[in-house]
């Protein structure tokens, strides 16, 4: 079953920022409710745009969301202090967004993660920058899995983000991500693959058709999670259909339910 990380509760989105400033409980709860109803398996919570008051904003957001959350939260911050506070507030083991191999971030995040019950998004980023080849992504993923297992994390709790890059500046970037995902899933079948996908279409028109086609290809390669807007009906219909075609939908139940609800149309 494909796992959606709902990306909407992010203060870099204007309406969310306004709702956070105004402490508008109703708006935030309605948005989270809609994401859950649409099939989000995790609700990402990011208060990073409020520079200087991320801690209070994150605290308020979690207090607001927690009572109505049916799915785990995905705590999204580069600041371990914010994550520590948020971790103490949630009542289901959360997902943490994120660790990378960038030295400064890696060390503090390893310290944070040690002994905690959570899932972790692990970015294939290191101090040399974005990966430049499939092999590069795979090497970084191996290192991340190795290091995370060394502090006791289970493979099933690791979500590797291969870092999708735009094809508008280099048409090989699609194949680069696809090849890496296939290889990582061969090496570590239990490890999950996630990430934002919309980067792939940066700089091109009609981005939605690109994103939909790419997520289908990525799912074929082994991607089983993504960070996206679950209220985007076309991408959700695409994911449900691809999931069925990949034999993840017994008796085509989720697909048929989607058709009857009007979500999935030809």
């Amino acid at each position: 079953m494909f796992r959606i990380i709902g990306e909407r509760i992010n203060t870099s989105r204007k309406q969310v920022q306004t709702a956070v400033i105004e402490r508008n409980t109703g708006y935030i709860r309605m948005d989270v409710q809609q994401q859950q109803d649409a099939g989000a398996g995790f609700i990402d919570v990011n208060a990073g745009a409020g520079i200087g008051h991320e801690m209070e904003d994150m605290k308020w957001l979690i207090e607001t969301i927690q009572p109505i959350a049916r799915v785990p939260l995905c705590l999204d911050s580069p600041d371990p202090a914010v994550l520590e506070m948020a971790y103490g507030m949630v009542d289901q083991p959360p997902m943490i967004n994120s660790i990378s191999l960038e030295k400064e971030r890696f060390d503090v995040m390893i310290r944070f993660l040690k002994g905690k019950a959570c899932r972790i998004i692990a970015l294939c980023m290191d101090d040399s920058g974005m990966p430049v080849s499939s092999d590069d992504i795979v090497r970084r993923a191996e290192k991340l899995v190795f290091e995370l297992e060394a502090i006791g994390m289970k493979k099933d709790d690791i979500y590797i983000d291969p870092l999708v890059q735009p094809i508008s500046t280099d048409t090989c970037k699609g194949n680069m991500a696809l090849g890496a995902v296939r290889e990582i899933k061969t090496l570590f079948p239990q490890v999950h693959i996630t990430g934002g996908l919309s980067n792939i279409s940066y700089g091109l028109p009609q981005r939605k058709i690109i994103n939909q086609t790419f997520i289908t290809l990525m799912m074929g390669a082994g991607m089983d999670s993504a960070i996206l807007d679950p209220l985007d009906e076309r991408i959700m219909a695409t994911i449900k259909t691809a999931d069925m075609l990949l034999a993840h939908d017994d008796y085509c139940m989720a697909f048929l339910k989607g058709v009857r609800s009007g979500l999935i149309t030809s």
Partner: protein
């Protein structure tokens, strides 16, 4: 006299064989290589930048245009006299410290180069003192700062502050850009300009040096 509009049009249409032929014809007809460059190729890249800004041309086409232009320039090079391809100005560009993203920044560098600027692309993860040093060494007129992360936006302010402290602020125009950056933010940190894309960055740079 050669009609530079044809050369311009051939480059805007990404028709490389036609553009190369027109450039060669123009040279044979006795046009100055510098004129062909400025009134033909660079003028075409200005149009391409505007089209990009308006959403009529897209990044892959702009990249191809830069490649086609470079091939045209190769034909012109042997005929260009010293100073004839004179630069519109010197630009120092880089991604601020803590940020490793370079795609947008490289596009801006490419468009500025194609628009006739001399561009020194410092790369990614550049500390404030790195920018200050480069401005001094290159005697730059424009500094372009890029950041893709909300977490590295404060580093833009620190970089602007470092330029102020170095005493170089009066001799340089500062432009900022990157996905989370806005006009308001540019204004608040004391930058001179903000550009939302590579096409408008090149255009804005030209207006800054007038």
């Amino acid at each position: 006299m050669t009609d530079f509009n044809d050369i311009k049009e051939s480059l805007v249409n990404l028709d490389e064989p036609r553009m190369l032929q027109l450039v060669k014809d123009a040279l044979e007809n006795g046009n100055l290589a510098g004129d062909i460059l400025n009134k033909g190729l660079i003028a075409a890249m200005d149009i391409i930048g505007e089209k990009m800004e308006k959403g009529d041309m897209f990044i892959p086409e702009v990249l191809m245009a830069a490649q086609v232009m470079a091939n045209g320039l190769r034909v012109l090079k042997p005929f260009l006299k010293e100073g004839e391809s004179s630069s519109r100005g010197c630009v120092v560009i880089g991604t601020v410290k803590g940020d490793l993203h370079d795609i947008g920044k490289n596009l801006v560098a490419m468009m500025m180069e194609s628009a006739g600027f001399t561009v020194h692309n410092l790369g990614v993860d550049i500390p404030p003192e790195g920018f200050v040093k480069a401005i001094k060494e290159k005697n730059a007129g424009i500094l372009c700062l890029s950041a893709l992360l909300t977490t590295t936006m404060p580093m833009m302010k620190q970089t602007v502050d470092a330029v102020v402290e170095s005493g170089l602020r009066d001799q340089i125009k500062i432009m900022v850009g990157g996905a989370p950056v806005t006009q308001d933010f540019a204004h608040n940190i004391g930058a001179d300009a903000y550009a939302p894309d590579a096409g408008s960055a090149a255009r804005t740079a030209k207006t800054l040096l007038i």
